[in-house]
């Protein structure tokens, strides 16, 4: 029965990784932008939630709700002012600019908050659990996974059922022709990043409640997020969830065999999938 428990924990962990990855998937899918600061922005959002909690004394979920529009604005501005300038055929400029951004964010957080570990206090929720048959499920991981599903469903609805989503897809296909339709690609991209930052805030909420965080853990989250996106395939949010689950399960199974192998197992799973499916499991028809 231990294996069932391990796999279930892995699946739920996959939900957290999917949350890390969903914003990335959105931005990567719409503008092929590799944001190497993504992990650090999750950490930034976590600190923001922390500030709101201590300043206003509200519970973390309310704090996250307050932080979301702030992060939206930040993402919108970042894309509009900085990142829009580096979009294009060449992948080097966005890679380098976001690399620089990652360093700046990490060190700004270090200056502002020191390297001390922090945690968002979730009270009783942290340890609450319930049994389903032979398996014990923590309330927090289940909530995380459910949130991941909710986020993906919502994003898909926006993407495929709304005018904004049409604008996203059209601009992603062909920004010049999209402007002929009266779309302003610069604003569309900015909105996409803004939405991605909202998702990042949700991810940050669960990251911060689940475990300790400090300014330097961003890059590791970035790698898990990217692995999930790449395994899933460009443009597929459900694929991103699948990718997250694959990494989550690989990690928990690896850890069950030998605790030192947890992270390694995740990376190996990533490489194995890519060896057979270089474009991921559910890639778009064209690229």
């Amino acid at each position: 029965m231990i294996w069932v428990d391990t796999v279930v924990q892995g699946i739920l962990l996959g939900g957290l990784y999917a949350l890390f990855a969903a914003g990335l998937s959105l931005v990567f899918g719409i503008m092929r932008l590799v944001n190497l600061a993504h992990g650090d922005l999750i950490v930034l959002a976590a600190y923001l939630i922390l500030i709101v909690v201590s300043a206003l004394g509200v519970n973390p979920f309310v704090a996250a709700a307050i932080a979301m529009p702030l992060m939206f604005g930040f993402g919108w501005g970042l894309q509009r002012i900085v990142l829009n300038r580096v979009l294009g055929e060449d992948i080097l400029p966005p890679l380098l600019v976001t690399f620089g951004l990652s360093i700046v964010v990490q060190n700004a957080l270090l200056e502002g908050f020191s390297a001390d570990s922090q945690r968002i206090n979730a009270g009783a929720l942290e340890t609450a659990s319930f049994a389903v048959g032979p398996v014990t499920l923590g309330v927090m991981p289940v909530l995380t996974f459910a949130s991941a599903i909710l986020v993906i469903v919502t994003l898909n609805q926006v993407f495929y059922r709304t005018a904004l989503g049409r604008a996203f897809r059209a601009t992603s296909d062909d920004p010049v022709t999209a402007s002929l339709m009266g779309i302003k690609p610069a604003n569309v991209f900015a909105t996409a990043t803004g939405i991605a930052m909202v998702v990042v805030t949700i991810a940050a909420l669960y990251l911060g409640m689940r475990a300790n965080f400090d300014p330097t853990i961003g890059p590791a989250r970035l790698i898990y997020a990217f692995e999930a996106v790449i395994i899933g395939g460009l443009g597929s949010l459900w694929g991103t969830l699948a990718g997250g689950v694959i990494i989550g399960v690989s990690q928990t199974v690896g850890a069950a065999i030998n605790p030192e192998w947890q992270i390694l197992a995740g990376h190996i799973a990533f490489m194995v999938v890519l060896l057979f499916k270089p474009r991921g499991l559910f890639p778009r028809a064209y690229d």
């Binding site: 049409r166 062909d174 010049v176 402007s179 002929l180 009266g182």
Partner: protein
């Protein structure tokens, strides 16, 4: 009433100059044709008017207002829509979504809605849910035209809509033109097919190497004059 004017319009691609002082006008209710060989600058002219190509010196005015410095999305908002060369449908969108996105930037309302576009090109109604790019060339052209119409434009720029299509298909597409004209849109048609252009237009401009070399009405232009203006050499 003059709807659209260009005066001394120039355009560059990097160091390469593609338009050398082009003057054209489009009056309300007219259909004007621009003919010329490959590389004459016809598409460059259309793209300059539509705002996709930032122009060099020269003036473009729509209803008297200068639009030369405006971005493409603003120009669409003013009522100038383009059917781009090569159709340029969005692969990620279905046929219906391609049509819907045509109205994204201009919601003034008017004759053209999904229903009236489907009435114009009935085959599209059957294919409304398929990806736009999975259609045949002619059907894609219909989607591209319908997409531009959805913004209920005052001016419709049609860039080489017959390119790559069989004569039968071209006929079907041009058969839609009277209804488009009737809905209140003034049309500029860019064509390499001289015969087709002469059939539909009330005035014709001929371009060669970035300049207008000839202009007039179809009945006043002789074959020789067109030949010279098109190719630059006497027959």
């Amino acid at each position: 009433m003059t709807l659209l004017t260009t005066r001394g319009l120039t355009a560059h691609y990097g160091d390469f100059q593609a338009l050398f002082g082009v003057d054209i006008t489009l009056d309300a209710g007219e259909t004007v044709a621009i003919i010329g060989a490959n590389g004459a600058g016809k598409t460059t002219l259309m793209r300059s008017i539509a705002g996709v190509l930032r122009n060099g010196p020269g003036m473009i005015a729509f209803e008297g207002k200068p639009i030369g410095a405006m971005t493409a999305d603003k120009i669409l908002g003013m009522g100038v829509a383009m059917v781009p060369e090569g159709r340029k449908l969005f692969p990620s969108l279905s046929v219906e979504e391609n049509l819907l996105i045509g109205a994204h930037g201009r919601k003034t309302g008017g004759y053209w809605t999904l229903d009236t576009v489907y009435a114009l090109f009935p085959i599209l109604r059957d294919k409304r849910a398929v990806p736009g790019t999975s259609l045949s060339g002619g059907q894609q052209q219909m989607v591209a035209i319908g997409r531009a119409l959805m913004s209920n434009p005052r001016v419709l720029l049609c860039d080489e809509i017959s390119l790559g299509l069989a004569p039968v298909v071209i006929r079907d597409i041009y058969a839609a033109l009277p209804q488009i004209q009737a809905s209140g849109a003034s049309v500029i048609v860019v064509e390499q097919d001289i015969g087709q252009a002469m059939k539909v237009a009330s005035r014709v401009y001929c371009m060669m190497e970035g300049r207008v070399t000839l202009s007039g009405t179809p009945d006043t232009l002789t074959r020789e004059a067109i030949h010279d203006a098109y190719f630059g050499v006497s027959a």
